[in-house]
Symmetry: C2
Subunit: 496 residues, 2 copies
């Protein structure tokens, strides 16, 4: 991976000085074309060995282009708000919106490589990180992002010489930190582990650009031109390219018409008495769980989906009634704001992830991608097809960061929906709940049902299973939901 | 202040139970009217003595209304991201957008009262806090917010009885914390200091509602009805009410036409040589300052305003060239996003405030309120007239939290602007910088100039002075800006 970057590339200062004015003008030009175009973000990763010119390059790119339309983010120690969420949260919050360039100094590669070099993780962990990174970057690319990954390299000899030179000058001795020495001692492991990581993550969507870092003019010109080339290529490409129609086989329906939803017994119900007893018992249990000594080590995310009028809102109110209002947030998912539209579709759910000790309740969720967006054609077939895997990745990260995720599909019959729609139209305080759109969606009942079946089958995982709730009887549904939540939290508390 | 709240108010449980269904229905109704109306937020503060039912009330309001459209925020220990900014930052980030209800459990009253009770602050500090709070709440109200402030009270006798009862039962003994005892010991001070604070902050815009907390039915019904009444009154008011036209005397111009800007010597200039030497000297000095051992204790905010083509962008690039890209952010201020439009106008500047050790550069600023918004009529005269004082308050908070704020007005002559506009039209890489709007703004040159003079006169304070920059010569302007920044940071470092 690093062979070419150890050849001792240099270019004369005069060549550099002659080339820079044109390069700057060209970079500014593509930067403004990007801004006007506004359909994709550029994500620039700056990685590599210490002393190879990473921070100089970041500064230079900001100098060459218009810094007002560049977001530069460096990742040092995570803040406490960041530590309370999955590790990727801090990168999600740093993603540039469409039309902007984001320079990430340090990235999702830093921890996996360093942890492996210093043997805090094993081979399998690194492999897993690599796979996750590939899926994450593919998602970004599929969402339209242009990803430009730079790795700045120094050969062992150059690195040794550099450290020696710094140390021998009293003016610069302070710049050689203990960390520099620790890293140099492990140079060979860094070499092989970075190499392995780079090879495995150099994909068609996001190839690595390895740059020899020893000679500043060579390094700077190389990086600048590479970025220019990548942006130009993308801006010149005919629109819509890179988003091919799905070539997947069409989804196959069981020919007897039976599926996970048709087989439900929607008539399951509870008596008023059983409901009343159950409700206070489970709400009390939930309340005690939320005051459990170890609860502050968990996050809880509750995801609600279902046909219109399936009882999501009223069920959510039965949950919040068992909780302290200081500890939960309900996120009603409506049309995205313009800040949200400028980001990958999962971004608006990431931003609301609960801190430890908190509960976030999503009233409709990221599954909109494979339900309404699929059915209404708001995204392409390829987009919603890949969403299943992207969502599984997202939820797996939640699971690993001690988030209890419960997903509920509230299922009612078509007749029951009609009854509820009519009731809503009649009743004063429910009138706001029924809109012409609800009636339009009802026309597409079968499409929604089969999309829901696909969704449940493709995204039910051991750590984030779907709970399908028979919801014709609201009482039965609410108790089932409350019970599921309590059981899941209890299991999580036991395994902490 | 608390006399009526010590009378031992109670209502029968049966009365309560009869009243609640109607109250709930009515609250839901106004909540949905608020959402549909969408023109103002409701900010509910929940304060008062310990054990008076604050958290029960928060839970109840969430239960009675639709929790999906309520944002509840409790303020415990600030996070590290919050500690790095002015104390009000955490409240700004918790403000509900228009159309929503935000319940703030704990608020900007908590610290001033507690600090004064335990003598961490003096009388003068409390007075100052009170004045600041009044100005802050007036700003919120002027921006359209409905502010409903609840104070839940318990008489000393009731409080003593409550603590005794809790302590005597082994099941509840744990609920009496050391903090409860500390607070009770200072009951009398709390009584008088809270009373004083409440009297002084019960304004026409945001009156306090004191509720006796001992009897849950009384307390809950009182709070619910008060909130309902406040929301109804506001929703029923004719639109546009509450934003009267300014009755202030018109701004008076000096009759000889001379002002702070006309008196400038715009021909001040530097030779190429002096510029070159000066630029590298001051950039170097800035760079060293940013690496000063104490720099991580400061934040730096740089604000740029000026006529179009005055050289803001190119000056900013000369500053960033002296800094490490990891440590600055440039915020180009364009049209607000829809999330920003749903908040008070200062919100979008608060959200970008730098952490300690960071520099935020605003390319156009909150002064848009008294420049473009004033001149184009995007806000009423009353709105921009009050903005001067609101901005002074904002900047004073920055000063107090160790933020070095430098404000630059870049001044060019009308002829120089014309020359630069024409140059921009000619040059390939500057063409994006000139739009029809620039030409339209140029027509209003005199209006902008006099608005700028008003702004400079009304918002130049000792801790946040304006620096007017003679900018016909770009070289002179850049050096003056760099020098000003360095000097201000140096002074701040000396006084740390």
């Amino acid at each position: 991976m690093f062979e070419t970057a150890e050849l001792g590339h240099t270019i004369a200062k005069t060549v550099f000085n002659r080339a820079v004015p044109k390069l700057r003008a060209d970079l500014l030009d593509v930067q403004y074309r990007l801004k006007e175009n506004g359909t994709f973000p550029v994500i620039v990763l700056i990685s590599g060995v210490r002393g190879a010119g990473k921070s100089e390059t970041v500064n230079l790119l900001n100098e060459w282009m218009d810094p007002r339309h560049i977001l530069t983010r460096a990742f040092d120690t995570p803040s406490d708000e960041e530590r309370d969420r999955p590790p990727m949260w801090r990168y999600w919050r740093a993603l540039p919106p469409k039309g902007k360039i984001g320079i990430l100094f340090g990235s999702w590669y830093t921890a996996p490589i360093i942890d492996r070099v210093f043997r805090n993780t094993g081979r399998g962990d690194l492999q897993q990180s690599i796979e996750e990174i590939n899926r994450f970057e593919k998602m970004l690319a599929d969402e339209g992002a242009l990803i430009v990954k730079f790795w700045f390299h120094l050969s062992k000899k150059t690195q040794r010489r550099r450290l020696k030179a710094l140390r021998s000058d009293p003016e610069t001795r302070w710049r050689v930190s203990r960390r520099d020495r620790d890293f140099f001692r492990e140079y060979d492991r860094f070499y092989s582990i970075s190499g392995e990581t780079l090879r495995a993550t150099s994909t068609a969507d996001a190839p690595w650009i390895v740059v020899e870092g020893a000679d500043p003019p060579y390094r700077s010109l190389t990086a600048g031109r590479a970025l220019l080339g990548a942006m130009r290529k993308r801006l010149d490409a005919p629109a819509g390219r890179g988003r091919p129609a799905s070539k997947a086989a069409p989804v196959v329906r069981p020919i007897d018409g039976r599926d996970a939803l048709t087989e439900l017994d929607l008539e399951r119900s509870l008596t008023d008495k059983a409901y009343k007893t159950g409700l206070s018992a489970w709400q009390g249990r939930l309340n005690r769980l939320a005051r459990h000594a170890k609860f502050p080590l968990l996050s809880v995310a509750l995801a609600f989906e279902g046909m219109d009028a399936a009882g999501k809102g009223s069920t959510i109110r039965r949950i919040t009634a068992g909780l302290d209002a200081r500890h939960y947030n309900v996120i009603p998912v409506a049309a995205p704001t313009d800040e949200e539209r400028a980001q990958p579709y999962l971004w608006r759910f990431w931003r609301h992830l609960p801190r430890k000790g908190r509960v976030t309740i999503y009233d409709r969720t990221w599954y909109g991608r494979v339900l309404v967006e699929r059915i209404e054609g708001f995204c392409s077939e390829a987009d919603w097809m890949r969403a299943y895997a992207e969502i599984n990745d997202f939820e797996e990260q939640l699971g690993r960061s001690a988030t209890v995720l419960c997903k509920f599909w509230m299922q009612i019959s078509r007749e029951e929906q009609l009854r509820r729609f009519k009731e809503r139209e009649r009743m004063r305080f429910k009138r706001f709940k029924i809109t012409p759109e609800d009636w339009r969606n009802r026309e597409k009942w079968d499409l929604y049902q089969s999309a829901a079946v696909d969704m449940i089958e493709r995204t039910s995982t051991p750590s984030a299973p779907w709970t399908v709730v028979e919801a014709n009887d609201k009482k039965f549904a609410r108790i089932k939901v409350l019970k599921t939540i309590c059981k899941r939290i209890e299991r999580a508390l036991r395994t902490l």
